[in-house]
């Protein structure tokens, strides 16, 4: 079971639906990344509770960058 949320594609975070303590369920929407002027929804990789979010709205991310840890 994955315990990290990582950026699946490079781009800019334009919406973040999670914060410390949010309970997530696999395949539910957790954030939106904009790449090439196109908004892409990112889905939760696993079930769990968000432990820590290390990125915020407006941040530029590379593919594979850590976004949040899941407990």
């Amino acid at each position: 079971m994955a315990n990290e949320v990582t950026a699946p594609l490079p781009g800019k975070i334009i919406r973040m639906d999670i914060e410390t303590g949010t309970t997530i369920e696999q395949d539910t929407e957790i954030m939106v990344i904009e790449a090439m002027k196109m908004e892409t929804i990112v889905y939760a990789p696993c079930d769990g509770v968000i432990e820590k979010v290390v990125k915020k709205v407006g941040d530029e991310v590379e593919e594979g960058d850590l976004i949040a840890t899941v407990a």
């Binding site: 594609l9 490079p10 790449a35 090439m36 196109m38 892409t40 929804i41 889905y43 593919e63």
Partner: protein, 373 residues
């Protein structure tokens, strides 16, 4: 007295209107409508539409050789081959070739999609267009506006307006034209294929790329020099990191200025007498076929590559080989997500997409080398 009135009327445009001109007004207005209401390539279709209106107002003299304002824009901008290369300077400054360098085998997909260009070239020639016109029409399949204009101005100026409008209209319709073909030609399992994480591309590689490709491509196909030279200079501005001002100017100010001087005279080449001929109108059919064939051959090539390679490619990426950047790549991304909502193809699709730009320029260079008078 009656005579005087008659000659007065003759000095106005009204006495010289033809039904064809009114048809062209409608076409111009439709393009303006599509640009504003549907936002189909508005930066180009808006000035093109307005150019069409202007040139179909009788007695304006705007396209009169040596004196007309739009004629001068056309002659010194397009006929002298200045504007399309300047657009390429901007494209170079915009384009990150990183995704292509990260996954070099995807370059083949950018080349594969050019097959539509050649197939349409042969088909058009077989249908009675002369060989230079056929090459220009085939070029629409590359889905690259400036390249189509560049080759038309060299080989078949009489078709320039129609080919440019066909190229830009179909580019705007990439999200409508491509997805049904992509779904038809691939299975859901294929669309779900996830790509392996690409290797990182170093700054040095990105910096060397424009220099090395300039040498390589111009030595191989000298006729592609004007477009490749400007494309790679723009890219060098971008990757060098030391001339942010020049990069910005190429991407923004210069690009915007030349776009104005590109669209208006293209519209102005579309006078009723030239445009409203079956031979010219049929270009829109052939252009669409070229576009569809390019998409199909891109998809097929990706599937063919999968037969021989261990690491499977998502065949949708083949459709990004047409050089409508970044629309074709976005379409791949969206069709991929329909099949698997966690399959993010955009950056992989940018590889064949930017390779397609180079592929189209090379195809144009080959045509010019073989056919230019």
């Amino acid at each position: 007295m009656i005579n005087n009135l008659h000659s007065l009327l003759n000095t106005t445009g009204f006495a010289h209107l033809t039904p064809g001109m009114i048809v062209m007004w409608c076409i111009g207005l439709i393009l303006i409508y599509l640009a504003i209401k549907k936002q189909y390539e508005p930066l180009l279709l808006l000035p093109i539409g307005f150019g069409i209106l202007l040139v179909n107002l009788p007695l304006s003299g705007l396209m009169e050789p040596d004196v007309g304002l739009l004629w001068k824009f056309y002659h010194y901008g397009i006929h002298w081959e200045i504007i399309p290369p300047l657009i390429f300077l901007g494209i170079g400054a915009f384009t990150d070739f990183g995704p292509m360098l990260a996954n070099p085998r995807l370059i083949f997909l950018g080349a594969g999609a050019q097959a539509g260009v050649y197939l349409t070239f042969f088909a058009s020639h077989a249908m009675g267009y002369n060989i230079m016109e056929a090459a220009t029409i085939g070029m629409i399949g590359g889905a690259d506006g400036p390249t189509t204009i560049f080759i038309a101005s060299k080989l078949a100026p009489q078709l320039l307006g129609a080919c440019a409008v066909a190229a830009y209209s179909y580019m705007a319709m990439v999200p409508i034209i491509q997805p049904p073909i992509m779904r038809l030609m691939t299975t859901k399992a294929e669309r779900k294929i996830r790509m392996a994480k690409p290797r990182p591309v170093s700054k040095r590689e990105k910096l060397l790329f424009p220099i090395v490709s300039t040498f390589l491509i111009i030595l191989l196909i000298p006729a592609s020099a004007p477009l490749i030279a400007m494309l790679m200079l723009g890219n060098l501005f971008r990757e060098s990191g030391v001339v942010e001002r020049l990069k910005g100017a190429a991407q923004n100010e210069l690009m915007n200025i030349v776009t104005i001087f590109l669209g208006l005279p293209i519209g102005a080449t579309m006078h009723a007498d030239i445009f409203l001929q079956p031979k010219v109108l049929f270009i829109f059919v052939l252009g669409l076929i070229a576009f569809i064939l390019s998409t199909v051959t891109g998809l097929l090539l990706a599937k063919l590559m999968n037969l021989f390679s261990k690491e499977k490619i998502n065949p949708l990426l083949g459709a990004a080989g047409v050089s409508a950047v970044p629309m074709a790549a976005r379409v791949v991304h969206k069709v991929g997500i329909e099949a698997d909502k966690r399959n993010y193809l955009i950056m992989y699709a940018m590889g064949p997409n930017v390779a397609g730009v180079i592929g189209t320029v090379i195809a144009a260079g080959i045509f010019i080398t073989l056919l230019a008078p």
